[in-house]
Each structure stands twice: as C-alpha cells, then as structure tokens.
Symmetry: C2
Subunit: 118 residues, 2 copies
C-alpha cells in the first residue's frame, strides 16, 4: 500500500542542523519493540532542540531512523535522558542484532518540490 501524502517526511527548518542516523537490524519477534519505539518518538518530540524524525524498515528487519536536532548539545541531552537510556539498554539486549549510530551536521537540504507548501 503506497501513500500519496508526504506525512512520513520531517518538516525541517533551513540548515544547518544536526542528524542522528541510526541504522539497525532487528532481532526476530516484537518483544515490546513497537510500543517502545512509539514511546521513544513521543518522548523525543518533547525534548528541547528536537526538529523531526524519519524512519523506514524493510521486511528483512533492517531499518534506518534519522532524527534531526538543533544542536549537538540537544543530541547529547537526548542520549542521557533516563527513559531513553533504559530503551538503549533494551535495544542492546533484546531488540537489535546490531546497530550503527552516526551524528552528522546537515549543511544542505532540498526536496523534489522545493516550492511546495508545507
């Protein structure tokens, strides 16, 4: 089922801003993953400096989530968030077979329809 609407796209300000690129291979079975993931997005949205998030995961369990932040300090604070730390521990123990995390400074951004209304 395809979507026509761009609801999955983050609506971001002009660069510069920061991205956390989180790529991860899920273990088998849900084991509470869906609920945790939903809660983490909800919690992230409440954090100072959070700008938006985009996420995709294929049927093979490999997924990429990119969250966008106003500053490196905002990313560091999110990493230290206690409820997020608990989720990070669960990720290592239960939900992820492996992951990679990269922090990057976004310097340029453009879309297919740069003039489109948001």
């Amino acid at each position: 089922m395809m979507k026509d609407s761009p609801a999955a796209f983050a609506q971001l300000p002009e660069p510069p801003y920061y991205a956390v690129i989180f790529s991860a291979q899920r273990t088998e079975g849900d084991q509470g993953y869906g609920q945790m993931a939903e809660r983490m997005v909800e919690l992230a949205r409440e954090q100072p400096g959070f700008l938006g998030v985009e996420s995709a995961r294929g049927a093979d369990g490999f997924g990429i989530t990119v969250s966008y932040w106003a500053s490196e300090a905002a990313i560091a604070a999110w990493k230290r968030n206690l409820e997020h730390q608990s989720a990070q521990a669960g990720g290592k123990k239960v939900w992820y077979a492996d992951y990679q995390l990269r922090v990057a400074k976004v310097e340029l951004a453009y879309g297919m329809r740069p003039e489109a209304e948001v």
Copy 2:
C-alpha cells in the same frame, strides 16, 4: 524474515566523511524502479570517494537511503554523473511521489559492538 548477518550495514572508515540522506516516497508499481535502483548502487560503487550505502524501505513505500562519501566534491561529481542524472529525471517523473535530500558531514560514529570484527 530477519537476518542475523550485518550485510546491510556499510563498512566505513573513521569520521569525518559525508552522508547523503535521501528519503523518498515511492509511487505505486515498480515501473523499472528495482532495476534502476540496483544499477545506481552499482554505478555509485564505481565513483571516486564512494564509501558505502545503507537503505531501507517499508511496505508503505517510504524509504531512506544513506550513501557515504569521502568529500563534498565526490558528492557533487556523483550528482553530475550523466547516467545518474537520467535516473534523477526518472525519479521526478515516474518513481517518486516526493523526496528530500540532505547532505551532512558525519562527525561521530559508533556501533553496538565497536570491538567487533568486520
């Protein structure tokens, strides 16, 4: 079906390097998309400064592909590649309902098992 192997992960050098974060909503139907996407990865791997690529797309047609490059000049050259330009035009006309492209400098990277053998 889940994978145990980390084959989907790019094997990258230590930062700094550059990332092209390409998020896109597919239109319905394949219309040659699969063949083009496979060819573009093959072509990208041949370009100077190409470091790796990771990609995920969900059943809703929203996907994220992150390609990694040694420099901004390598990214600019890839954007100008003639066969890639043809694919870009096809993307706007046929394959994508919408997309966003962001260029970022990766400053920090770590994995779940930083000591793991590659």
